[in-house]
């Protein structure tokens, strides 16, 4: 796959970092504004998919990216579990206990463990969808 025309590549260069940044904003402000890990993760996938579609698989090392994305997927689901287990031992034997101080409603650093879960679920969603997407592209390359 050769990628698309130079117009698309230039627009991709302009926009891709801003799309990724917006995804990070949706994830980190998930407990204050609409959004959260699920939505933000899907937006982050959009940024990566844009690069893969615009530049084509020749310019990128897809096998390496696939390994990286499936590794970060496993890592983030492990982190969610670890956070939950820590809650089990810190609080009164309750899984998914919110053990950090909750702070003031409406501030960025508040709500205890909820933002942390948001971040790791966002990583999980992004990595899983990216893995699926890259697997499809690699399948297309190899089946020629």
């Amino acid at each position: 796959m050769n990628g698309m025309s130079r117009i698309v590549k230039k627009v991709t260069q302009l926009l891709v970092s801003i799309i990724f940044m917006y995804g990070v904003y949706i994830v980190t402000h998930g407990h204050l504004t609409p959004g959260g890990g699920f939505a933000g993760g899907a937006i982050i996938v959009g940024a990566f998919a844009l690069i893969i579609l615009a530049y084509g698989s020749d310019a990128l090392k897809l096998h390496k990216e696939e390994a990286g994305s499936s590794a970060s997927e496993s890592l983030s689901i492990l982190m969610v579990l670890i956070l939950a287990v820590i809650g089990f031992f810190v609080g009164g034997m309750v899984f998914f206990n919110n053990y950090l101080p909750t702070g003031v409603v409406g501030e960025l650093i508040s709500a205890g463990t909820v933002p942390l879960y948001n971040i790791f679920i966002g990583m999980e969603v992004a990595a899983a969808l990216l893995t699926i997407f890259i697997a499809l592209v690699i399948f297309k390359e190899e089946s020629k």
Binding site: F96, V105, A111, I121, K140
Partner: protein, 177 residues
Amino acid sequence: MELLLSIILGFMIIGAIFALHARDLLSALVAFGIVGYSLVICFLLLKAPDLAIVQIVVETVTLVIMVAVILNSTREEVKDKLRWQSALTIVLALLFIGGLVYFYQVAIAPLDELGMHTTRMAEAYIEGAAEKTGSANLVTGVLFDFRGYDTLGEATILFTAAIGVLTVLRLKGKKAA
């Protein structure tokens, strides 16, 4: 409100019927996009901005994956037309539809009118959410605090699906390092 939602749902039904009958698979996907993106408008009208954000992104990703699959293979619809094999098939289908409509009637009877919902179970969540979790977004509070197990299960399903796709689509084995 109800009228507006009914109109949008009518469009969704028309789009769905067209998506299932289109000759070209690519136009079928475009028609399926009508259904998904109309759902986003419905979510916004129903005061569910979280869901609207998720649905608009998920619909886009789904369409991208579907178009990738179709460009990989073929756009041709399978030629054979639907044949009504016998009168028995029709009778069975009508019986089935009748049964479904009956159970729908039974299920819909105890529900409240649209917009007259009384929050029974979520009362505790709404009352306690701000103090207990400190999260201003109640949906996120429910999702990651009160119902953390659901989220964990959901993440597990995503993980399994990704691994399944990797397994199904692997053509060459991994080279021995």
